[in-house]
Amino acid sequence: MIELVSDSRCIECNICVKVCPTNVFDKVVNAPPTIARQSDCQTCFMCELYCPVDALYVAPDVDPLVGINEQSLEVTELLGSYRKNIGWGKSLTTTAKEDPTYQLLKTMK
């Protein structure tokens, strides 16, 4: 579930408000968006992929957690980790090009 909009990283572009399929965020004038409807979050991680500054964190749990904080996420390098893994973002190349699913399927036969 979405747990964090980082005030220090957010540039108030509101892309997350636009792309969230379940409309979890609310735009706020001159401030980062708020997580207005956390219980509607479907834990699909799409907002993280579209955030240009890795300001969002979606915890893996489908239920809300306590004690998520930016400092520890930075230490564990989890902020923006999904975006990095699929190769979205400046100076990155999409990893779809390297998708080796065919190698795995071969081993199943």
């Binding site: 408000v17 636009k18 792309v19 969230c20 399929p21 379940t22 409309n23 509607d40 479907q42 834990t43 699909c44 991680f45 799409m46 907002c47 992929l49 579209y50 915890a59 893996p60 749990d61 489908v62 239920d63 989890l78 980790s81 999904y82 893994n85 699929i86 979205w88 999409t94 990893t95 779809a96 090009k97 390297e98 998708d99 080796p100 699913t101 065919y102 190698q103 795995l104 399927l105 081993t107 199943m108």
Partner: protein, 544 residues
């Protein structure tokens, strides 16, 4: 709201409903099927509006997940093998004509994706490998392509009711922008329902937008469903997580809490053993059959599979983790709106269906495993429905402007003072469709009892009224889920055998006498009838 219907013919020309738009074709839903139908309609010369409940590009199960594609080069032997491989699993309800057409169209469309720049990988021999699509990449590209084709996209704009003309032909839809609260009306020559299946808010990956909304709207306009008994697909996920990606569980060992392997438990054939075991105790998995070399490959192949593990601090290759089965309903099940011809026409004039919203029995019968057939169906049926809706609309536009009215509106237009408690009805519906001993494994007693309760929920919804516009979308979702569950279980009761994914404990064998489709429909009164396989086959193909 006190008015009898949200929108009647004259009301939307007044200032009360300022947002009125016109298009040749309206597409409802912006996943792969919706995107392909919008592109195809625009490419056939139609003006197109696509509305999505969320954001076209991020909405739906494909965008969040990604999957294989039934992409088979046109060599007769490979095509034959591809068609034969799933016929038995699907209970022999699929049709070779449809499979052939889907294989042809999928081949063309996937090659089109490559031309558009989808970054397909290249195998060791330097050949492009086009049987797998990563969701975020795929749907970002589709959004770009449909915009380039001139499609107008309304995000966060769920449709609520269909518009029909005096003869009952569908002529547009009404809806609301859930971020601004503004209502909209789109008058259109034809409407394509591409709203996906129904997973009952189970939190399967990307599936919470898939609440059967299109089924309900279509049914309110008079459309029929087909194969709704094939609606009990469940995906494996870590118990705490939404990620229902199942391919890698082929390399898993399933155990009890102490690490003792559970006999017969497996990702594919042994999934029912997992379900049975979960009824009484937790089940754990460990991906210990993947070699060390394979692990890096797996990470690159499905980055989102590893996301929950990395974030929860679990190494799935060396540590056991609890698993659950999340209902994927008709998203991975094959039931949906009945298709009456090769153009993906429904039983209502002017209304088309594509992707998971349409029945997938035509190519899968009563079963699909992974995403590959589903992805192929989405892009093929999307393509055909878009093309035929454009042609239909073009012929219509010669006629005078039609008088239209909004139909349906269960949940917000009863005129009663009772208010709906949506959250309670959701929980009550989930209590009927989630449990493995009700839905995964079915029996006459359980289905009958569930249906009684679901019918009461329907009565409750039909006799209630929403307090204000904020609840419109959720209330319609609730009504859609209850309606879907009633078609599912009524069809399941009527199929007195075990076939495809439909497992009936009272009738554990496949019965040759029941090799037919079950058509269902109805709102206040649900009905089910049989249709022979031939009936669903062919009407003449209209070509551009």
């Amino acid at each position: 709201m006190s008015q009898k219907q949200l929108l009647l013919d004259d009301s939307y020309t007044s200032n009360k409903f300022p947002q009125t738009f016109e298009a040749d074709v309206l597409v409802i839903g912006g996943g792969p099927a919706g995107a392909w139908s919008a592109w195809s309609a625009a490419n056939s010369g139609a003006s197109v509006i696509l509305v999505d409940k969320g954001y076209c590009g991020a909405s739906g199960c494909a965008a969040a997940s990604g999957n294989g594609v039934w992409y088979v080069p046109p060599q007769p032997e490979s095509r034959e093998a591809a068609m034969a491989s799933r016929e038995a699993l699907g209970g022999f309800l699929s049709s070779r004509d449809w499979m052939q057409r889907v294989l042809d169209q999928t081949y063309t469309n996937v090659n089109q994706l490559a031309d558009w720049g989808y970054p397909f990988p290249v195998d060791e021999e330097g050949r492009p490998y086009r049987r797998s699509l990563q969701g975020p990449e795929y749907m970002r590209l589709m959004r770009k392509q449909i915009r380039r084709a001139g499609v107008e996209i309304f995000d966060h704009s769920p449709a609520l009711q269909l518009l029909v003309d005096a003869e009952g032909a569908v002529a547009g839809a009404t809806g609301i922008n859930r971020q601004t609260g503004e209502k909209w009306v789109v008058r259109a020559g034809a409407v394509i329902i591409a709203t996906g299946g129904c997973a009952f808010l189970s939190k399967a990956l990307g599936c919470n937008v898939l609440t059967g909304d299109g089924y309900l709207m279509a049914a309110e306009a008079g459309a029929e469903m087909s194969g709704m008994e094939f609606s009990n697909a469940y995906g494996i996920a870590p118990a705490f997580s939404s990620v229902t990606k199942t391919l890698f569980y082929n390399w898993a060992t399933f155990t009890d809490e102490d690490g003792v392997p559970i006999p017969g438990a497996g990702s594919q054939k042994g999934r029912s053993v997992i379900a049975k075991t979960l009824l009484t105790q937790p089940v754990y998995a460990i991906i210990d059959k993947a070699s060390v070399e394979m692990r890096a490959t797996m990470r690159l192949s499905q980055p989102n599979f590893f996301l929950p593990f990395d974030r929860a601090g679990i190494d799935p290759f060396t540590q056991r983790f609890p698993v659950t089965l999340r209902l994927e309903g008709t998203v991975r099940g094959t039931g949906g709106i009945r298709i009456t011809d090769y153009n993906c026409t429904t039983s209502v004039r002017g209304l088309y269906a594509a992707g998971d919203a349409a029945t997938r029995e035509l190519i899968c019968g009563g079963f699909t495993g992974g995403g590959s057939h589903n992805a192929a169906w989405a892009l093929s049926s999307g393509y055909w429905s878009g093309q035929s809706a454009a042609i239909y609309s073009r012929n219509l536009s010669l006629q005078a402007k039609r008088q239209v009215e909004a139909v349906g509106g269960v949940g917000f237009v009863s005129g009663s003072q009772n208010q709906i408690n949506s959250e309670e009805i959701i929980k009550a519906t989930q209590a009927e469709v989630f449990p493995y001993n009700r839905n995964y494994f079915r029996n006459e007693k359980g289905l009958t009892e569930s249906l009684q309760r679901l019918h009461s929920l329907w009565d409750e919804i039909s006799n209630s009224e929403i307090a204000d516009d904020h609840q419109i979308v959720r209330t319609r979702e609730v009504a859609s889920m209850v309606a879907t569950a009633r078609w599912m279980y009524s069809s399941a009761l009527a199929r007195k055998e075990t076939r495809g994914m439909h497992k009936h404990e009272d009738y554990p064998e496949q019965d040759a006498q029941q090799q037919h489709h079950l058509i269902s429909g109805g709102l206040d009164r649900v009905w089910v009838k049989t249709a022979s396989l031939q009936e669903t086959k062919v009407r003449e193909l209209i070509t551009a």
